[in-house]
């Protein structure tokens, strides 16, 4: 089968995959088990990489393939494994125990999605939907929503690992914004982004481990000695 280079088709494909990423993000916000959360997080990069590859295909921007492969390797494979290892090594409880309960979290996430669409309104250009260089511009709303839901998850969760996870899913939103708004930033920047995600996870991984040693717990709400 040959893939027809019809921009309309590409636009629909990208919208579909972006919607799936958003659904996964809301599912993450509403789910109660830690390992499931990490696995849902692990699926998102596959979709993001496909979006990057699709935009790269229609725009003839080969460096986006590189970004897609990096995303897949780092955020799709390395990072989830690392996080699962941390979870196993420190043997924390599997339940997430958010501050706001799960059904309400899902509703809040829905509200944040609405907010994302309002913020992205001024960038929305429905008339340009057909041109190849504007592919995926309309996914900015999804990117902003991912970002906001990531924020919400950070506030809503008390365990150190879940906060790291929320930070990383927030960065997924960034990646989507970067590829959809600018069809890939200059390559130096992409490299930097991935390098930093990787190192950040290592830093946080070490810290998570040492917090466990020092507090016998992964509950960041116990980190309250420093005040005033």
């Amino acid at each position: 089968m040959t893939l027809s280079p019809d921009p309309q088709f590409g636009d629909k494909l990208i919208n579909l995959m972006a919607a799936l990423v958003l659904v996964l993000q809301i599912a993450m916000a509403g789910h109660r088990w830690l390992v499931t959360n990490i696995r849902i997080f692990g699926v998102q990069p596959f979709l993001l990489a496909s979006i990057a590859a699709t935009i790269g295909w229609f725009n003839h921007a080969p460096h986006l393939y590189f970004a897609a492969i990096l995303t897949l390797a780092l955020k799709g494979i390395v990072v989830p494994r690392l996080l699962e290892q941390v979870v196993q090594r420190v043997g924390i409880r599997q339940e997430i125990e958010p501050l706001v309960n799960q059904p309400l979290s899902a509703i809040v996430s829905g509200g944040l999605t609405l907010l994302g669409y309002v913020v992205a309104e001024s960038f929305h250009r429905p008339d340009a939907g057909g041109a190849p260089e504007s592919l995926g511009h309309n996914t900015l709303a999804v990117a902003v929503s991912l970002f906001l839901i990531g924020f919400f998850m950070m506030i809503n969760r008390r365990k150190a690992v879940t906060q790291v996870l929320a930070l990383l899913s927030l960065e997924n939103g960034l990646f989507l914004a970067a590829i959809s708004l600018t069809y890939g930033m200059p390559l130096v920047v992409e490299l930097g982004v991935f390098f930093d995600v990787l190192v950040a996870v290592m830093v946080l991984g070490v810290l998570v481990h040492r917090i466990r040693e020092a507090f016998d717990s992964m509950d960041v709400s116990k980190l309250d000695q420093l005040r005033g």
């Binding site: 913020v119 001024s122 960038f123 970002f147 924020f151 950070m154 150190a160 906060q163 930070l167 927030l170 960065e171 960034l174 914004a177 970067a178 708004l181 600018t182 930033m185 200059p186 390559l187 130096v188 920047v189 930097g192 982004v193 390098f195 930093d196 190192v199 950040a200 830093v203 946080l204 810290l207 040492r210 917090i211 040693e213 020092a214 507090f215 960041v220 980190l223 309250d224 000695q225 420093l226 005033g228």
Partner: protein, 497 residues
């Protein structure tokens, strides 16, 4: 050739220190590298004053007066704290506070971490100042966070880990917003020629054609950048990591964080201010900056007044000064930006000196709570006590010290620019911080004669203190011509005149 060498020298020093086996080697590598970095930074400043902006590596590195000023201040703080750190860390090792728990890292490994991470931190701050591409600048700012997280958690106590955790998470969120802002800036610049090349995000390119940037995009980008780099600079309400991080990091590192790293975060903000202000004009951008600046100043007042811990007091003081500088940036114009650049210079010298004094007091009494120190510091540590008091007078803006001049200039600029409410609040908040700091530090230094034994002579630290103290006094009366020229042209770069 100065530009690449300037950040590669401390970078190499970090790597070498990590490989070194003995303490003396690490000390020698650090001292040598920071001395060389300082010479290079002075050389760069001289070149910029003489020839204007310079480029290297095909436009990848770019230094105008703002970069040269920030790099020079960073190198100065780096050198002085490197000298100080030799004495401080030797005492730490002797006092056994580096730990030696059965499973934990050995004291030697910890020492190595500190000696390797400090030059890496300085190297990334210098890269922030020298990078032309706004994306590379963001990467370098993230690198400063990575290097400093381990410095904040250095002592491995429960409180240090808490501080490091807060710092990493809040800093991470801030930087993600800054990256979003960088992405949106790139989007706003998509119509410029060459936008799809590597040079598309170069500041020198964007600043020349700032008028053609997409206005809606720049508006969103500036909000995100202000929140993002504002978190890194510790302006309210994103400041909560700051008192914890500054009071838990080893004192030489805290001195770098409170002066050089603050400058580097403000530097990022200044670069985007220049773009956004040229694109959007007066109104939105200055108002937002003044709002956040005054909020930081106002918020630090009660915390300075009731503070019980002197390192946290200094941290809230830094929040106040970050607010002052952001307000000055918002007031803008020739006068406001000149005040900003002068204030940045003076604050760097005074604040790092204060942290070095606080480190001496902390190490001698083994506490940083005012209440637990029963005697006047000046009784057993005359030099430290005297310089501590002097630097406090300087930082709260007491004439004849130079921070009075810069703050006076900023207030002048506020009234001249029609920001009457901002000017009045600026003076009020300044008075509040003045009262709090003088009260606390005055009591600490000039207390009664107590039972403590006088401190022994500390050649490394005393010489660092004396050098920085002499500099603080000297610039109160005489600012060298070339330095003033550099500061003036830095202000012109920001004001765009």
């Amino acid at each position: 050739m100065i530009l690449p060498a300037l950040f590669l020298v401390p970078f190499a020093a970090g790597v070498l220190s990590y490989l070194a086996r003995r303490r003396q080697q690490m000390e020698a590598i650090n001292l040598g590298a920071f001395a060389l970095t300082f010479v290079l930074a002075v050389g760069l400043a001289a070149q910029v004053v003489r020839d204007g902006a310079v480029e290297a590596l095909g436009g990848f590195l770019y230094a105008d007066a703002v970069s040269a000023l920030v790099a020079g201040l960073t190198a100065l703080v780096g050198l002085v704290t490197a000298v100080y750190a030799v004495g401080y860390l030797r005492d730490d090792e002797r006092n056994g506070v580096l730990g030696g728990a059965p499973q934990g890292p050995s004291p030697h490994a910890k020492l190595r971490n500190c000696y390797a991470l400090t030059p890496l931190l300085v190297a990334s701050i210098l890269l922030v100042a020298l990078a032309n591409n706004l994306g590379v600048m963001w990467v370098a700012i993230e690198a400063t966070t990575l290097a400093s997280v381990f410095l904040v958690g250095f002592y491995g106590r429960a409180t240090s880990l808490e501080a490091a955790w807060k710092y990493a998470i809040i800093g991470g969120v801030g930087l993600s917003m800054a990256l979003f802002g960088t992405v949106v800036t790139y989007y706003s610049a998509r119509a410029l020629p060459g936008a799809d090349t590597l040079a598309g995000l170069n500041w020198s390119v964007l600043a020349a054609r700032a008028g053609e940037l997409d206005k809606a995009g720049m508006r969103l980008a500036f909000i995100l950048i202000l929140l993002g780099y504002g978190t890194k600079a510790g302006i309210a309400p994103m400041h909560t990591w700051k008192p914890d991080a500054y009071s838990e990091a080893p004192v030489p590192a805290a001195a770098i964080l409170s002066s050089a790293m603050l400058n580097c975060a403000l530097y990022g903000l200044i670069r985007y201010y220049a773009l956004a202000h040229r694109s959007l004009g007066d109104g939105f951008v200055p108002q937002l900056l003044i709002l956040f600046g005054l909020l930081s100043m106002g918020l630090s007042v009660p915390f300075v007044l009731v503070q019980r811990n002197f390192r946290r007091l200094l941290a809230y003081h830094t929040i106040d000064h970050a607010g002052i500088m952001v307000t000055a940036l918002g007031i803008g114009g020739a006068l406001g930006t000149l005040g900003l650049m002068l204030h940045m210079t003076y604050h760097t010298i005074a604040k790092s000196l204060l942290f070095l004094c606080a480190g001496n007091v902390y190490q001698h009494y083994r506490t940083d709570v005012f209440h637990d120190i029963k005697e006047g510091v000046i009784r057993s540590m005359p030099l430290t006590g005297a310089i501590f008091l002097m630097a406090t007078l300087a930082i709260v803006g007491m004439p004849p010290f130079s921070l009075f001049q810069s703050e006076f200039l900023i207030v002048n600029a506020a009234f001249a620019g029609g920001h009457y409410l901002a000017g009045v609040l600026f003076v009020l908040f300044g008075a509040g911080v003045f009262a709090g700091a003088i009260l606390h530090v005055g009591k600490l230094v000039l207390g009664p004669v107590g039972p403590e034994v006088p401190a022994p002579r500390r050649p490394w630290r005393d010489s660092a203190l004396l050098a920085m103290g002499a500099l603080l006094v000297a610039i109160a009366f005489w600012l060298p011509g070339p330095l003033l020229a550099l500061i003036r042209s830095a202000a012109q770069v920001v004001a765009g005149e």
